[in-house]
């Protein structure tokens, strides 16, 4: 029961304080000028969505391919090493990833950018997606591979169109969970996209993101700004918990009526 106390308290406080803030203006408008009491977190929401999109494009394919490698070709010493390092990478402090990307991109170009942020987040998603992809591909019985190979389908085609498609609910679970994880990730963003009070303007300008907005607003003395942080926290928590609970509910009835077109 002890475990439930923090969760309950977090949810309660966030909802209690955040709910009054939420409005159409709140989720679309620019943050207000300090001292005024109008404004919203539009740039933060836009930035988080942009980062999720970019990271999905950059981080998920390598993650899935790594997972395929581990499951289909990784039953040897090299594969075991990769799997081990992958697990180590999963537990990497995210701030270290932030430093890596910042040192390579931000410091070198003197520019914070959405791309740098997305690269950092991709490094975080990669091992998560790889591991869940591997686990779900391994649950595909060999008879399915045999059937496809016996039809004279090439191995790569078999892996992508038959094996991966059979395992896809597991892969999608991993992808969604990793998206949930990165939408709340803050530390590497602090070092790569910096945070901003404005909407996205160019690929080499800082942008904002929900967790950064919470971090920046949380410690402000101004009650209106802190109120905004509660609202942002509520939206972030809704995104993260919806993804998590949704995935859990959806995977309960595996293989129900989900089918694929080739």
């Amino acid at each position: 029961m002890v475990a439930v106390v923090p969760l309950a308290s977090i949810l309660l406080e966030v909802i209690r304080n955040g709910i009054s803030t939420i409005s159409f203006q709140f989720i679309t408008a620019l943050p207000g000028v300090p001292g005024q009491t109008v404004g919203g977190i539009g740039p933060a929401i836009q930035g988080t969505l942009l980062l999720i999109a970019l990271t999905s494009v950059m981080g998920i394919p390598p993650g899935v391919l790594t997972g395929i490698y581990l499951a289909e070709f990784g039953n040897n010493k090299f594969g075991r090493t990769i799997r081990f390092l992958n697990d180590v990478l999963t537990e990497f402090p995210s701030i270290v990833v932030g430093i890596l990307v910042a040192a390579l991109l931000v410091v070198a170009t003197h520019q914070y950018s959405p791309i740098a942020g997305a690269i950092a987040l991709s490094i975080i998603t990669l091992p998560i997606v790889a591991r869940t992809t591997e686990e779900s591909i391994k649950t595909v019985p060999n008879s399915i591979r045999d059937a496809a190979m016996a039809l004279g389908i090439r191995r790569w085609r078999t892996t992508i169109s038959v094996v991966l498609s059979t395992a896809r609910s597991g892969v999608i679970t991993g992808v969604l969970l990793s998206i949930a994880r990165i939408s709340g990730e803050t530390a590497p963003l602090l070092l790569t996209i910096l945070g901003s009070n404005f909407f996205f303007s160019s690929w080499n300008q800082p942008i904002d993101a929900l967790p950064l907005r919470i971090f920046n607003d949380a410690s402000q003395a101004d009650p209106f700004t802190r109120q905004q942080a509660w609202g942002a926290a509520m939206i972030l928590i809704i995104i993260v918990l919806t993804l998590n609970i949704g995935v859990r509910l959806a995977t309960r009835g595996r293989y129900g009526s989900n089918r694929s077109r080739i």
Partner: protein
């Protein structure tokens, strides 16, 4: 216990002339196969006739499945598995250098022990999978192929209304016929069947056996079975394998009525295995 194989193959009686006119579809020559250091097939030389059904019988573990998996180069997919010797399909060795195993598998289809339709695909997609994933995109061609394959597999009438249903929603026997239709759709010349009825009930089994008899009109069928009655019912020729060796091979009726080897006789009369 090595047996002179070619002598055994020689027909002992009746319709000699007819059989000499038959073409051999597949020949194996000195075929050996291993799993790691486990020698599972020893020097198999066998000639399989075109448009006939050949049964391979023997106690479990005797190498039956391995033998047919060597005929479409599926054996080599198992880690640590390898083989030596020649397997001649029509006039060329499928193990020759430069032969793409994928094209071999398109000519030599396979049906497995347990029905294994692709679980996330519909009935239609299951049958079309082999063509689609080999690059056929034309819908008319696909529709025709699906319909004719399902008809040949005696399944069309049962599923023509439910082509969009998942393949895994069919009954076990229907799933197995779906797998046969899936194999037929890529237009193979040979159909290998690895104990296709062992997971099915008697009614479904009867249907598949009936199907096999009709299939051999257009295909060369090789069926592995541990059920001797089934071999007797569906096949024209029977090979008896024991501990990785070919003990006896001949016309089914001859072999069952008058086995040439003591081992065969003991197996057929149920003294072992």
């Amino acid at each position: 216990m090595t047996v002179g194989l070619l002598e055994q193959v020689k027909p002992e009686n009746k319709s000699t002339t007819l059989q000499q006119m038959e073409r051999y579809k597949i020949l194996t020559e000195n075929l050996h196969a291993w799993f790691g250091s486990n020698h599972v097939l020893k020097d198999i030389s066998i000639k399989i006739r075109e448009n006939e059904a050949t049964a391979i019988i023997g106690p479990s573990g005797c190498g039956k499945s391995t033998l047919i998996r060597c005929l479409n180069r599926m054996h080599e997919l198992v880690p640590g598995a390898r083989s030596t010797g020649r397997v001649v399909l029509d006039d060329s060795n499928i193990y020759a250098k430069g032969v793409d195993p994928v094209t071999v598998r398109r000519r030599v289809g396979m049906v497995f022990q347990k029905p294994n339709p692709f679980p996330t695909m519909s009935v239609y997609d299951n049958v079309a999978a082999g063509l689609k994933l080999n690059g056929v995109r034309d819908n008319t061609t696909l529709d025709q192929a699906v319909e004719s394959s399902l008809e040949r597999a005696f399944l069309w009438d049962e599923v023509k209304a439910d082509l969009d249903k998942p393949g895994s929603s069919l009954s076990g026997g229907q799933q197995q016929r779906l797998c046969i239709a899936r194999a037929l759709a890529v237009k193979p010349e040979v159909l290998l069947m690895d104990e296709p009825c062992s997971a099915l009930d008697p009614v479904a089994t009867a249907k598949i056996e009936e199907l096999i008899v009709s299939l051999k009109e257009s295909y060369t069928v090789v069926i592995v079975t541990h059920n001797m009655q089934q071999a007797a019912r569906v096949s024209d020729f029977t090979a008896f394998l024991y501990l990785g060796q070919l003990i006896e091979y001949g016309e089914t009726t001859g072999l069952f009525e008058n086995p040439g080897e003591e081992l065969t006789e003991r197996y057929l009369t149920g003294k072992f295995g």
